[in-house]
């Protein structure tokens, strides 16, 4: 059984937040860092708590640490050495392999995220702006009394209108395909696949390959924890809309181009099930909108292009060992909405999201390196993921079509990486362990 009372809520629950804030922190001394953690861990809810009280709660807090952050809190070298290599190195050191080159390179990141001084993140999801304001005042007061704790940067989150469903600034409906964890009682929607062993996402449980292995030590630190890859992606909405206009004469053609890049219409309706025309009712219907495969339904990509974002991020029945590559996504949009008819205003907006997984190298890094950025994915020759791949204007995008495919050359970059980091998301008991490290020794 899952120990829901010891698992931070972000791993297992979605909260009805319309706003929020990330605070990126550095600990100049260990005692100050632990003092901060002692106070904030009281606010960090477990999955069990959120499941019980989400309807009345107004804010939800999560905390996580980089490898440098664990050291800064006083975790000893012996324990630090037991963490996986990719987590120790951090996202910056892995940049080239992840495709973070050119504009996406850590040299261009903002908010101190590329710095080794990045130690922790406090994630606040709030029901409304008033609650966020109250929480951040409280947090400012906490930081002020914790010696050596410095806020490197913050990012305010804002849902984008319309608020009745989750979507990004490009307008694509989100949260349609998420793996289900065995033991949560959650019933997978049709097409999602059977529930996966908890160890794929939560440390200390059997995974799809067998009993847990190579866990960071001591056990109290790793149990019920997980890893989070943070990605802050600026979305170039003006550029995206210009692109659609350039490649589609009518509104319908533009919507089709947008759908071909993603694999779904912006309504969420998958092209496998609605190849010719958008079907918003299908897009909104969780019982139907994920119920498809590729091998039988679309082997050549006539509906969902072989290189589309959706097909790369989850190749379903066209990749081996899919159960070992799944990821949980959480996060939010930031920046103001750009109205449909407005020209690009130069204001930054995008997605600030977490990929949660039991192994960064096997899940997140694989998806990034092999699925998003392998130019020869599905023998495509000269493509990367059209939404999140490393695009420099020299690659192409092929849309299979009878009798003749459409080939777009010089695909622009619709997103730019503005920051990222690898965090360890401890369990609730592990937070107490970290906060009291001085007593342990």
């Amino acid at each position: 059984m899952l120990e829901n009372e010891d698992i931070q809520h972000i791993l297992l629950t979605r909260t009805p937040a319309l706003t929020g804030r990330y605070e990126f922190l550095s600990f100049r001394n260990a005692a100050g860092g632990r003092a901060w953690l002692s106070a904030i861990r009281e606010k960090a809810q477990s999955a069990a708590e959120v499941m019980a009280s989400v309807e009345k709660d107004k804010r939800w807090v999560t905390v996580a640490f980089t490898w440098n952050g664990l050291r800064a809190l006083g975790v000893d070298e012996e324990s630090l050495a037991t963490f996986p290599e990719e987590f120790k190195q951090g996202m910056v050191a892995r940049a080239e392999m992840l495709g973070d080159t050119g504009e996406n390179h850590p040299d261009n990141w903002v908010g101190g995220l590329a710095s080794p001084d990045l130690h922790a993140i406090a994630i606040l999801f709030a029901r409304d702006a008033a609650e966020r304001a109250r929480c951040l005042t409280e947090h400012d007061q906490l930081v002020a009394v914790c010696e050596g704790v410095e806020v490197l940067s913050t990012l305010d989150l804002e849902a984008t209108p319309p608020f009745d469903y989750a979507h990004d600034h490009f307008g694509y409906r989100d949260r349609l395909s998420q793996p289900v964890i065995e033991g949560t009682g959650e019933v997978p929607t049709p097409g999602t696949g059977a529930p996966l062993k908890a160890g794929e996402f939560i440390l200390g449980y059997p995974d799809e390959d067998g009993p847990p292995a190579n866990l960071p030590q001591p056990e109290i630190l790793s149990r019920n924890g997980s890893y989070m890859a943070y990605r802050c992606l600026q979305e170039h909405v003006g550029r995206f809309r210009d692109f659609l206009r350039e490649h589609g004469k009518t509104h319908e053609e533009q919507e089709l181009i947008a759908a071909k890049l993603m694999g779904r219409w912006r309504s969420g309706a998958p092209l496998t099930l609605a190849p010719e025309k958008d079907d918003p009712a299908l897009g909104a219907d969780l019982q139907r909108n994920n119920d498809f495969n590729y091998k039988e339904m679309d082997p050549h990509g006539y509906a969902v292009p072989l290189g589309s974002h959706m097909r790369r991020m989850n190749p379903r029945d066209t990749a081996a060992n899919m159960n070992r590559r799944r990821m949980i996504r959480r996060g939010a949009t930031y920046g103001p909405h750009l109205p449909e008819d407005a020209p690009e205003d130069g204001v930054e907006r995008g997605i600030a999201a977490f990929v949660i997984c039991g192994s960064l190298i096997r899940q997140f890094e694989f998806a990034q390196n092999v699925w998003a950025n392998d130019r020869n994915f599905h023998e495509l020759g000269n493509e990367r993921d059209p939404i999140i791949g490393a695009q420099d204007g020299t690659l192409e995008y092929k849309i299979p079509k009878r009798p003749i495919r459409k080939k777009i050359t010089g695909l622009p970059a619709f997103t730019t990486v503005r920051g990222g980091a690898y965090f360890f998301l401890p369990g609730i008991k592990a937070l107490r362990y970290l906060a009291t490290l001085d007593e342990v020794h």
């Binding site: 290599e85 020759g381 495919r405």
Partner: protein, 294 residues
């Protein structure tokens, strides 16, 4: 299904069926001026005999009749070296795009011309220092005209030779039982060799494949246990006992025992296994089509 549709079988289209230069010459389309996609399409369709279905006439500056066309096809260029059909510089679709004036890029074949055999001298250590590419588990050995590959050489635990011969039969059975069992590794060839040095037995495992090994490491580890490939590795000195749960330790062993080439050669360089299979499919499809037209 009409002939027209048959010609545009999805497999043929996505396999990048080409109207290569030779084909264009066959069509009498050496001069591209004034051509439209429609004309080219019509001519190709005529050439393979489907103009009959469309009930349209034949432009006078090309082959004169369907009859001529059929004999022309049977006699020459269509059923020729199928690689030429599948990977020639102009893909069928690019021809259309070029004629429409969109661009003349030939990105699909940027890796090199398969018609020109090529050799590559590789520096000591197996990696070009000035263009090292990083993979998830460390630097990646470069792609050569003989694609990606590895040569792993390790000493076997004395007295275990028989295990290797048993293992060979098991692999043979596994592949016969499920022919696509190793598909994920994107292989061309694997070779397993045992040889003696000063009375001790060494094992050489050599593979040629289309992707750098780093990408599918975990899939390889999963295959190892699934098909019993581990049995042979577990009889090598120094193979990590926890290989199954420790991909990094597995990779370390492989890297430590990898002997990179200092020279590699390809008769048809950089062509992937998939390209070859697609080309053979195209060839089979054309043969079948010609049979149907008799």
């Amino acid at each position: 299904m009409s002939h027209n549709q048959a010609f545009f079988e999805p497999e043929l289209i996505t396999a990048r069926v080409t109207a290569c230069e030779a084909t264009l010459r066959t069509l009498g389309l050496v001069d591209h001026t004034g051509l439209t996609a429609e004309i080219v399409a019509k001519k190709i369709l005529e050439l393979v005999g489907v103009a009959r279905c469309r009930g349209e006439g034949t432009p006078s500056n090309t082959v004169k009749s369907i009859h001529d066309c059929k004999s022309h096809v049977t006699g020459s260029h269509f059923v020729m070296d199928s690689l030429r059909i599948a990977t020639r510089s102009y893909t069928y679709l690019d021809v259309f795009q070029n004629i429409e004036g969109k661009d003349a890029a030939m990105s699909d074949t940027q890796q090199g011309d398969w018609t020109q055999p090529a050799a590559m001298a590789i520096p000591k250590g197996g990696i070009f220092k000035d263009k090292v590419q990083q993979g998830r588990y460390g630097p990646i050995f470069p792609k050569s005209p003989a694609c990606y590959g590895f040569t792993i050489i390790a000493k076997i635990i004395p007295g275990r030779e028989e295990v290797f011969y048993e293992y060979a039969k098991n692999i043979e059975k596994a592949v016969a039982g499920q022919p696509d069992c190793l598909a994920v590794l994107k292989l061309h060839y694997l070779r397993w060799v045992l040889f003696p040095i000063k009375g001790e037995t060494y094992f050489m495992y050599q593979g040629i494949f289309d992707t750098d090994f780093d990408k599918y490491t975990e899939d390889a580890v999963a295959l190892f246990s699934k098909y019993g490939i581990n049995t042979v590795f577990e009889n090598l000195e120094g193979f990590p006992a926890d290989w199954k749960t420790n991909a990094a330790a597995f990779v370390k062993f492989v890297r430590e025992h990898q002997c990179p080439s200092f020279l590699e050669y390809g008769e048809y360089p950089y062509v992937s296994s998939d390209e070859i299979k697609k080309a053979l499919k195209v060839k089979a499809a054309f043969s079948n089509m010609l049979d149907q037209m008799q």
